[in-house]
Assembly symmetry: D2
Homo-oligomer: 165 residues x 4
Amino acid sequence: MPTPTTTSRPAPARARHPFPLRWNDNDQYGHVNNTVYYEAMDTAVNAWMIARGGLDPAGDVIGLCVASSCEFRESASYPEALEVAIGVGKLGRTSLTWDLHILRASDDGAVTDGDGAAPIAVGRFTHVFVDATTRRPVPVPDGLRAAVAPLVLEPPALEPGPGAH
Amino acid sequence: MPTPTTTSRPAPARARHPFPLRWNDNDQYGHVNNTVYYEAMDTAVNAWMIARGGLDPAGDVIGLCVASSCEFRESASYPEALEVAIGVGKLGRTSLTWDLHILRASDDGAVTDGDGAAPIAVGRFTHVFVDATTRRPVPVPDGLRAAVAPLVLEPPALEPGPGAH
Amino acid sequence: MPTPTTTSRPAPARARHPFPLRWNDNDQYGHVNNTVYYEAMDTAVNAWMIARGGLDPAGDVIGLCVASSCEFRESASYPEALEVAIGVGKLGRTSLTWDLHILRASDDGAVTDGDGAAPIAVGRFTHVFVDATTRRPVPVPDGLRAAVAPLVLEPPALEPGPGAH
Amino acid sequence: MPTPTTTSRPAPARARHPFPLRWNDNDQYGHVNNTVYYEAMDTAVNAWMIARGGLDPAGDVIGLCVASSCEFRESASYPEALEVAIGVGKLGRTSLTWDLHILRASDDGAVTDGDGAAPIAVGRFTHVFVDATTRRPVPVPDGLRAAVAPLVLEPPALEPGPGAH
């Protein structure tokens, strides 16, 4: 999917995770509460790691969230459905920073990303991998490291700062 | 779908609403917390009323939950997906009692209800319809009444009691 | 508080657990969503069991919710604070059914129960105690059984209701 | 409380908001899920604005969250109680960025901040004030602006961090 060329590289395809909304996601202002976007990010990246990266939540190595951030650009409202587009901003020795786009799913299930349509929220989520018992940092497991490689965004995307995109 | 005969009536088909789970739905015992089943029921019936029954949450008539109950038979765990099978236990003048089955979605999206497979939880949810401003009871709107008619379960299902099924 | 007499017995004092509300507890109708009352009940009885009944959530015996119900009588709204008044409706061999009143805390922290003021919601919550590993039922632990004894409501309190006994 | 001197200024006192935990705040790793810290921040600053700053969630001007971030330093676990220490990092024309410390409440209700004890999480939360109907930005209401003034942190407090200023 990432097709390097000598002059420019298209961004790698992001993995997608559907995130339908719930009645109680809407707060009293009638739209999805800000905390729900973090539930979406947490759910999407853990689901991806379990399905694709060999993570076993009951296993020896688990990923703990040490930092997260989100910039909210447009509101959404149940009964809409959202989708999380998953990329990796930084793959370190013991940590992994996800670069996440929250998208509005269209009526037919298609989402409006990749061809110019803007995400309604943009977030980052940093996992540090730890020994499940001692809770001390350990290297990102090899299987996970290999699995996320295609999701790593190219250097130009690695701007510093949580709100920097 | 409901095909009355002189000797027996098959149960009407229940409407279905998918309910994928979220990472934080699992509590510290490693399975979906009991409160999440109520989120599932609330979400499913409101989504159905909005999509099929003409409910407008910002409209003149809204449905308030006055009673609910659930019997939990088996546990579930994210990243599983659930589904709510929606029936109507009682259709009154100003209220509607939903009769709900929580099902485990199989890997291929099929659910295990209707052919003998048992729901993992069985619940009831009573909405009273009220004027959005005065919050006083009003008749179930005609459009909704017509829409739910095919979901009304036959008398034998109308056993009394929240845990009685 | 429980002062037995020959002719009648006042209800035993219920244990109290404060339950302040959160911004996102209010749903788009501007009041506390029904599911939050179950969070209140779950939180109150587990906190009580941990503090007073010797429950260790990481221990050998845990309590799983097998049934719950709630009747909602009045609405509440963040930033109000609520309180749960804890009684025991039934103490069985392997299970315990809590009889719970949700009260509105007054501005000075006092709550409006016990002297005629009505709870805004009334619920029931049944725990079955199980071996944490096998998840098979075991007797209510002796320490917990002794601790809850003063909370067991007298037969006259077992009035019929939505969480019919 | 902020007592300017020629050579140094002590940090202004932060406002405090108690945040007891709930059973279902713990995720399957046995500690408070990261999303709950955002619930704590959202709850604390809205409660403060309603109680002290004249915010009426049903009024003409409301505050919408446009960005948030959190750095998680230590874990917590129900039935612990937390507390949010509220400061203001930036007071703009139409927006307000809260600078928030999440503290572990000690057994006696005292919290471990202000005298060297470290918060378990540090977050930022930016509200933009908008017309409730048009959702277009409006100036921070005068009453709120006056109320938050004592909470504005002095420049020396703008230390670098994950929510880099």
